[in-house]
Symmetry: C2
Subunit: 159 residues, 2 copies
């Protein structure tokens, strides 16, 4: 399989990939480790709360978004990590048994101002459940090596 370089992320391009199922055990395991609040860990308390049952930690949903991104994109790319995330919005609850997909759109890209071998890509992500509801939205940046640094350095590198 061909490695994806910075040049392969085309602005406006959209794709959908996944899926990841969220089992009750996985939901509880993540929550007990990292987000032990009753709405995520206590079946009885959660059933009496706002959401009428257990919901996944938003950070669990974000971690599953990352897993889909790694499995379907980053592990066949020249990724050099991420400087951060512009925003995350948790829009609808994720419940035990849900199956999630990831929709990705490339918004912009630019070459690093001082390192012509490295470029930034900004993507918008939507995590969808099996009813096609958007449960999470996120805009975030990634760094990738260029396939042909010199060519981009000469042309200015933005697109």
């Amino acid at each position: 399989m061909q490695t994806l370089y910075w040049e392969d992320f085309e602005v406006g391009e959209r794709s959908v990939f996944g899926a990841e199922s969220v089992s009750r055990d996985d939901l509880l395991d993540f929550a007990r480790r990292y987000d032990p609040q009753p709405m995520h860990t206590d079946e009885q308390a959660a059933s009496e709360g706002w959401h009428g049952g257990l919901i996944a930690s938003g950070w669990h949903t974000a971690a599953l978004c990352m897993r889909m991104m790694v499995r379907h994109v980053l592990n066949r790319s020249s990724s050099m990590g991420s400087p951060g995330v512009e925003y995350v919005r948790w829009l609808a609850p994720v419940r035990p048994g849900d199956t999630l997909h990831l929709r990705m759109e490339t918004l912009s890209r630019r070459v690093h101002p001082r390192r012509p071998e490295l470029g930034f890509v900004t993507n918008h992500f939507e995590v969808l459940n099996q009813h096609n509801e958007v449960v999470m939205g996120m805009r975030s940046g990634g760094m990738f090596l260029l396939r042909e640094p010199a060519a981009e350095a000469t042309s200015g590198g933005d697109s």
Copy 2:
């Protein structure tokens, strides 16, 4: 211990809490589940890479930030969850054996425009390592019940 309500988050107030240690096993376990990239999962590949050794997934650092926030603040509060995060910046690598603290500052708060029993609080977070380096910065929002909804509804509720 007294429950923290919306009114108890005072703008400008700062606190530091923790600590959470990041063992090599925990780092690898999180990465294998949610962020299986060589820099996080493959000791040999990581030692030859940019960072000269294994580094934690940024999402693992975010999850540990959440764990500190739950243990020290949210689990004794009237928290009703979070609508999302304004930004996350991963500023320095987290390595096996690091010990993290969380610094929190309350930036603003307001009552929900249509639900006088509910308020929003915006906090800035910095995750610090044992050398007092900021490894992650984040601004995020939380929702909390008010102790005295009527009083805030009458006065306008902002501060």
